[in-house]
Amino acid sequence: MEMVIAIAVGVMFASGIWLILRPRTFQLIIGLMLMSYAVNIFIFAMGRLWVDKPPITPLPDIDPAQFADPLPQGLVLTAIVIGFATTALYLVMMIGARGLTGSDHVDGEEPRE
């Protein structure tokens, strides 16, 4: 499991890096989305992996060692929602820049080559 998660994070992050180094705005936005998945899972994994132990405590007296770490979960939940908002912002900037400059290059102009 640990190895699978590590490889998954690596693959998503590598795809993200590749994409954010590309020249087109759409590639950038897709890259950022992939990177945010990778980073979210990475942060989430800092609480270690737990199967069938959700942090839901119906009884008052519990052994904390029997539950998944709720803190990274809370942080990642926030990160997912903020990630959605920033994606929306990038998107609007992307189409706005395209309308203004006539180009979908990340610098707003086609490279001089």
Binding site: E2, A6, I7, G10, L19, G47, A68, V81, T87, I95
Partner: protein, 968 residues
């Protein structure tokens, strides 16, 4: 409070002045007069305490942890300066009432002037050196604003910038000097610093502190080689020149030197640095003043020279020299302020300040002429006027420098005396001779109250000059006693000391000055000389401008060399830094202790084979196949959500799933506006071309980055977790937070302040997106209806989306998707209600509800939905934030900190007992903001398709109607 009010009232007055209407010249003046009078009365009432030699202090906490207090402290020296600032200030505002034209924006002028008054009083009354520097920089700032008051004039802008750059840089040096002093003494408190003089002088950092403080003082007081800013500051309105640039602000430098005299003076370094700058300034200023053709320019150089005189006296540093310095500060303020005002009157009445044009003014302006001649005589050091007294004290002090044989200081003093007589004669020459015929305006005596301040000041010159012992002596005594303390000497302020060397020097200067003037006039064509002889090469202003230009050029060069505006290199550098820096910063890794790992699950590996494959494929497809790339990213997202579910994070799984949905729809809406990119049309990459090398490099970086983070993840996962605060949350969620879903309790209770911040960010982003889209203009080629929708064979062509859903090909989907709306609403409520105890909560419920609405938009189009459903996303946003904040503020009513939660147990009829935590209301706020945000962004985007059918450049009003319509 009394001292604080002295500083505060001008600032309050400044604020009030700024709020007055443009034409309220009289009200502005009355306000300023009231402010200055208030200060004079308060400060005047302190006279008994000052005469008794007391020091008054008011202290309040500023940065207690850094040992800094806001201290206002008034002793004799501060008091005399306070009176000077306020008295001259009062006269100047009265004068300015008549000087400023009705067309000038007066509120700005009086507002800045009063702000300056407050800042200057702050400098004078500060009992803490850091605080003094703050006010010091404020005077530089207000001076900048006042010099640039007529900002349509290039010379005003240039002068303002030059003055600000020089004095503010000096202020920074002063700040550094003060920090060094504080380091030596261990305190910034003025009393402590003044008492530690011996320790400071013995310290190895003494020279550094002295040089830095001197840089601050010399720049402010326009001393050589920083004197050049003052003549350029004359672009300011004359009341400003009179107030800031002759009487008060430029005196701040010499004030500071006098203030720190007990702490810093008494060493050869002090004499050489301070005295040396003073001597150069005094000779240079006086000499150049003779050759000025501008009335105010002459006065500016004369001011520089007199400031040099004061600096020399402080540099000499003997107690008697300090007496002379303080005395001359007061005298110079009196006669120079009156001379500036007189120059302003002449400028105002004749329309010119050119000494080559002005002559014979005594016929038209007899009273002003008399006043100006008396004041000039004081400036020249004619007996029976105040300037004579302090200048004679100066001559006496120069004799004491250098001992019996070394007379150079005395020669310099006499030379300066001759020059000042010569430029004073040059100044008054405008009143004599035949009346000028070619003046721009026909001069008349100015209004009564415009001349009044000049009359008062000239009267003061006379009174002090004739009877110093009964007029100025007590005041001077107060300042001297406070500055010098036990070292205060006995001195005699008399007009007649008998025939002695200083008197001889005075006479020599007077006679020599007259001779010099006559010779220059007769034989050297003084009236028409364009350049100052000898010194025209030493143009400080030119050096300054050149330096500034070169600095700008160098900055531009560095920016071009080291910076880029292109995104890709920036991101590449960032990624490489991300690869290289963490290993450098990280310490040695901990010992490799393996923990029990989760068993390998083939199904889990399979879904990640799909997820990872989707990610790579998306990276592959993103250039030419955007829709496919989007779908593939969605695949990775769903696998991510499944992973969360698998690994005991149901809340994350739900949120991820909903966000995935909304994001996909969002980007689908944006795809339409991107330019077409056809793979077949692109030329294949040649091997080893620049582009293919770049790709290879990027691929390398990407693979390296992926490997690094994979290794890091694995390394963390096989290590045992350290102790975290997770246990606290797990143990207290139910008891303290009243909910069994720890993640939700964490979000709305334990860390609700974070969540409040987060929903605020959401609201801001939504509004930004909305605002950006209102200005959105599509590119011309994507503005028309897409080709797919124009296909002749399509029966839906020509139908509105609503017709397609009601009776067209979407009828079946239309029926059940509309039926879905109430069900999705119920699901949203369900997730919301159970959120505190089971997976769910405001975020998830908000997203579900937003998707429910969104589905209707996708089905029947914006027009139909908005004619049937009135959603106002802005209000949802506002309401949600208000709910969340009000819940937090509610805790205050019960005396608890912000956002403390409380669980109420309410018994309802039929339903029974219900737990109603206040976090529930907070979560409702979260829900509402999330709905508002999602709706606002998606609907604003969706609306763009309405405007897309029109070509850009069409009537903007229609655009606004479409984009900003009733419902958004």
């Amino acid at each position: 409070m009394l001292l604080a009010s002295l500083v505060l009232v001008p600032f309050i007055g400044s604020l009030l002045a700024a709020l007055m209407p443009q034409s309220a010249r009289n009200h502005e003046s009355w306000l300023a007069i009231a402010v200055a009078s208030y200060g004079l009365i308060v400060a005047g009432a302190l006279y008994p305490e000052m005469a008794a030699g007391e020091v008054l202090r008011e202290e309040s906490a500023w940065l207690p942890t850094k040992g800094l207090a806001f201290v206002l402290r008034v002793d004799g020296l501060a008091w005399v300066f306070t009176m000077l600032v306020l008295a001259i200030g009062l006269l100047v505002v009265l004068y300015a009432r008549y000087y400023m034209s009705a067309d000038d924006p007066v509120p700005r002028f009086f507002s800045f002037l009063l702000a300056f008054m407050g800042s200057m009083l702050g400098v004078v009354l500060s009992g803490n050196l850091v605080q003094l520097v703050v006010f010091w920089e404020l005077t530089s700032l207000t001076s900048f604003l006042l010099i640039g008051y007529w900002h349509h004039r290039a010379d005003a802008r240039r002068g303002a910038r030059m003055a600000f750059t020089v004095t503010a840089t000096g202020g920074l040096c002063l700040m550094a000097g003060v920090l060094v002093l504080g380091h030596i003494v261990g305190s910034y408190d003025l009393d402590v610093v003044l008492a530690a003089g011996d320790r400071i002088r013995a310290h190895e950092l003494y020279l550094a502190a002295l040089v830095l403080v001197a840089l601050g003082a010399l720049t402010k007081s326009a001393q050589f080689p920083f004197h050049f800013w003052l003549p350029h500051a004359m672009a300011a309105p004359t009341p400003v020149s009179s107030y800031l640039h002759s009487a008060t602000m430029v005196k701040a430098g010499v004030f500071l030197l006098a203030r720190l005299w007990p702490a810093l003076a008494g060493t050869p370094e002090w004499t050489w640095i301070v005295g040396g700058a003073g001597v150069c300034t005094l000779l240079l200023g006086a000499f150049i003043a003779i050759f000025q053709h501008d009335l105010k320019g002459l006065l500016a150089y004369s001011t520089i020279s007199h400031l040099g005189l004061i600096t020399v006296l402080i540099g000499i540093g003997t107690p008697l020299a300090m007496v002379a310095a303080i005395f001359h500060i007061l005298n110079h303020a009196t006669f120079k302020a009156s001379l500036f005002m007189a120059a302003g009157i002449i400028d105002h009445e004749t329309g010119t300040r050119d000494l080559r044009v002005l002559r014979g003014l005594r016929h038209k302006l007899p009273i002003t002429a008399t006043l100006a001649i008396v004041a000039s005589a004081a400036m020249a050091g004619v007996p029976l006027l105040n300037g004579f007294l302090s200048k004679e004290m100066f001559f006496a002090e120069t004799l004491s420098v250098g001992g019996e044989r070394n007379w150079w200081m005395s020669y310099a003093a006499v030379a300066m005396g001759m020059f000042s007589v010569a430029y004073s004669l040059r100044f008054i020459s405008i009143f004599f001779g035949a009346p000028a015929q070619d003046l721009p305006r026909d001069p008349h005596e100015p209004p009564r109250w415009m001349r009044f301040p000049v009359e008062l000041l000239v009267l003061a010159c006379l009174v002090v000059g004739v009877a110093p012992a009964i007029s100025i002596a007590p005041v001077l005594e107060i300042a001297v006693a406070a500055t010098l303390g036990a070292a205060a000497p006995s001195y005699d302020l008399a007009v007649w000391h008998g025939f002695n060397l200083p008197l001889l020097m005075s006479m020599l200067a007077l006679a020599g000055g007259v001779l010099l003037y006559v010779v220059l006039r007769r034989h050297f064509d003084l009236q028409r000389r364009e350049r100052v002889p000898l010194f025209h090469h030493f143009n400080g202003a030119q050096v300054f401008e050149t330096t500034m230009l070169q600095v700008t050029r160098a900055a531009g060069w560095l920016l071009r060399r080291l910076g880029t505006t292109r995104l890709q290199p920036q991101l590449l550098l960032m990624m490489i830094a991300l690869l290289i820096l963490p290993p450098l910063l990280a310490g040695t890794p901990p010992a490799w202790t393996r923990i029990a790992l989760q068993g390998f699950d083939p199904l889990f590996a399979t879904i990640w084979a799909i997820g990872g494959g989707c990610a790579i494929a998306a990276a592959w497809m993103a250039k030419y196949h955007r829709l496919a790339a989007l779908a593939l990213v969605g695949g990775t997202g769903i696998v991510t959500a499944a992973t969360f579910l698998w690994l005991s994070a149901p809340d994350l799984a739900l949120t991820q799933l909903m966000v995935e949905t909304v994001t996909t729809v969002l980007i689908l809406l944006g795809l339409r506006w991107l330019p077409p990119r056809i793979e077949a049309a692109a030329a294949p990459l040649a091997p080893f071309s620049r582009a293919s090398l770049r790709r290879a490099r990027d691929l390398l970086v990407a693979v390296a980055g992926g490997l690094a983070i994979a290794a890091l993840t694995y390394a963390v996962l096989v290590h045992p977790a350290s102790d975290t605060i997770a246990d606290f949350f797990l143990l207290n969620a139910l008891g303290g937070g009243g909910g069994s879903n720890v993640v939700n309790v964490l979000l709305v209770d334990f860390r609700s302040f974070d969540t409040l911040g987060e929903i605020t960010v959401l609201a801001i982003v939504a509004l930004t997106v909305y605002a950006l889209l209102r200005r959105f203009r599509p590119a011309p080629e994507s503005a028309a209806i897409p080709a797919q929708q124009r296909n002749e064979a399509d029966p839906a062509r020509g139908q509105t989306p609503a017709e397609q859903a009601n009776s067209g090909y979407l009828m079946v989907a239309g029926i059940y998707l509309r039926l879905l709306l109430p069900f999705m609403g119920v699901i949203a409520v369900y997730f919301f209600m159970r959120g505190h105890n089971l997976p769910g909560g405001g975020f998830v419920a908000g997203l579900v509800f937003a998707v429910a609405i969104l589905v209707q938009y996708m089905l029947a189009g914006t027009v139909w939905v908005e004619s049937h459903l009135s959603l106002r996303p802005h209000r949802w946003l506002g309401l949600g934030l208000v709910l969340a904040c009000a819940t937090g503020l509610g805790a205050w009513l019960f005396g608890h900190p912000f956002l403390t939660t409380h669980t109420a147990h309410v018994t309802w009829p039929l339903v029974g007992e219900l737990h109603l935590p206040s976090a529930f209301v907070f979560d409702l706020g979260v829900f509402t903001v999330v709905v508002g945000t999602t709706m606002l962004m998606l609907v604003a985007l969706a609306h763009q398709s309405l405007r897309g059918h029109r070509l850009p450049g069409e009537d903007g009003a229609e655009d606004r109607q479409a984009a900003g319509g009733r419902t958004i």
